[in-house]
Symmetry: C2
Amino acid sequence: MSKSMVGSHAVWPHEDDPIFGLAKRAGEAKEKFGKEKVIDSTLGSLVDDDGNLICFDSVYDELKNLPNSEIAAYAQVAGQGDFLESVIEVLFKEYKPEGHIRAVATPGGTGAVRHGIWNYTEPGDTFIVGDWYWSPYQTMADEFERKLKIYPFFNEKGGYNVEAFKENFNSIIDSQKRVLTIFNTPANNPTGYSISDEEWDEILEIIKEKAKDKENKITILLDVAYIDYAGNDRRSFFKKFGNLPDNIFVMIAFSMSKGYTMYGMRSGAAIGISSNESIADEFYYSLSHANRSNWSNGVRGAMKVLTNLYRDKDKKAKYEAELESIRKLLVDRAKAFVDASKEVGLVTLPYRDGFFVTIPCENSKDVSEELIKDNLFAVPLKKGLRFAVCAVSKEKCAKSPALIKKALDKING
Amino acid sequence: MSKSMVGSHAVWPHEDDPIFGLAKRAGEAKEKFGKEKVIDSTLGSLVDDDGNLICFDSVYDELKNLPNSEIAAYAQVAGQGDFLESVIEVLFKEYKPEGHIRAVATPGGTGAVRHGIWNYTEPGDTFIVGDWYWSPYQTMADEFERKLKIYPFFNEKGGYNVEAFKENFNSIIDSQKRVLTIFNTPANNPTGYSISDEEWDEILEIIKEKAKDKENKITILLDVAYIDYAGNDRRSFFKKFGNLPDNIFVMIAFSMSKGYTMYGMRSGAAIGISSNESIADEFYYSLSHANRSNWSNGVRGAMKVLTNLYRDKDKKAKYEAELESIRKLLVDRAKAFVDASKEVGLVTLPYRDGFFVTIPCENSKDVSEELIKDNLFAVPLKKGLRFAVCAVSKEKCAKSPALIKKALDKING
């Protein structure tokens, strides 16, 4: 007999998460050599200069002051009504696109991305994303028996590779008549790039051209997990998603993880935009069915926190002040890293916003191991090294590029 | 063009959850006539005699006293190690089966059931359950393109219909060579039935007979969402799942929703048992992959609460005392309902434990509507009416059977 009991589609390597393994080694180094001697750039969470996880007081005071029943009770399958109303405002701010907008609560941004891939592709379909991407997109493609096709993210000028997008988008839509295209922007994970409004105009022109064929079905999935650290003007692109043809559906994966320092509370939302009301309704009911089938309903206490921090003026002001101070901390750290990189001649991908700066390189695993000798821990990606400025003090951000340059030179010559 | 943008498998009726709609009408009736005049038996949550949701102090004091970072940080994909160790002890107590046991954290019991159906069947497969079942099993079958086959739950004596199970189990395993069979016990939702140890022996004999063919793959999925209200001796059946042949895999869906009054915190676990270590490991990695692809990781604060309420002796004692007092409240209410039913000649399904008593009947929707005229709100099922003793005071539990009998006689003559 075969020594397997799961379905044939559900057999996966017996491997633990590599980032977690690296974070564990960083923890051991801190024990051994002292926190100040170690640069731990492994985790995608905000950490203060003393190495403690940043948790907004405005958020946790609110959570802990909720009546127990507000945390204990089941939420509705699609999410609490006041949360769904609030999250739309919180997401778009003054850039709400025109159209029919619906929201459905999900566990983090992951749940929303998962629904995008599951609900808006057919089994076996190919969906596309630029080649610097959050690796769970591939995990999901594997899990759900879809295919992920990647295209070059950057062009030679260090801008978004609109030409490569066009070629791949057109090729898939022509053969499949349906395509899901994911953009992780602004504040892309892992590069820190944000697609500009001008680049968005070019992208949307390509998409609209293909939407002229009314048989084509195009879904744009925007993963905006890091948007709250990108500065408010980075939301202006949302306006462009109003008044699109019926056969372009736009879906946004919103996460409370980073913007509310609530990673472990697993709350987010999928927001859908359509010029056609029945297509917006279809989104709501299709995702509600998927909610019920996968996790029943969401974390009610987290939803209530977002709602209250949006609707109460004083709480809102306190929350926004905390967020802004941490956003500035992040900007400072990233600037220190990028400036120091220029000084030592370390090439980084063009950083705009967010938690990460990425150094393109070959043999990233070897480079990462070499850096561990200097007690610097950074995550090796397929095509580079991810440095988490969110987790490293400004001082250490300024020191790291020289160490990385040295390791790169040693490994890649 | 077709006015649909989702994949063809993801088109679902534009319908809201009927239980929620009924609960809303009950709420309106309470507003209009006063709480004391309305019997609201719609929701599957524990409510005290004054109509307030029961939230254990031991649980919410613990949650609210956690350091913010314990709530804020990401949990590991499979769940925190101390939680996974604790949940196995909490689940089995003194009845831990022999074998290789692994646990993976999930959002409530739903996430674990979902993994059971997704990971342990092939697309298109049929899985089986008795005909009094939690309706999301069917929702999941639809969502994941599996088929649900039901067989008669009760035999003529009011016991578990082992013969009907045998016939259906054998027929599916013979044709499919693989079968997933779900049992929602003890304290079945919606009937309140608990399969006895003697019935389990008969069921396992049937299963073991088919396991002699080493090509057959059999997965037993136990949904024990209500086990904490079933009395400790109802766990003795767990011992029977030790030392089974390799091709019988046992998976348990554990939920913190009811036992910890943490419905809205979405925490639970899937626990797998196998005599074969590599099959237990396969379970762990297969479900970890599914975790990562669907919701990334679980609610860390909820996991920590369970761990602390298990590991700290004083906290454990306080939690267990609260649970026991509410369990007794539930036993009293159910007894009041069942006794009053006998008095007025209302036939109920054989209740043993849990949140619900069910009255088998035809035209349940009409009966439910008729009862609303008396301000009694109970959930119509396909084959009966579900009365939530968890949500109704003892006094009202005693009054309800007469009202139900009257409505039944009026509608069904």
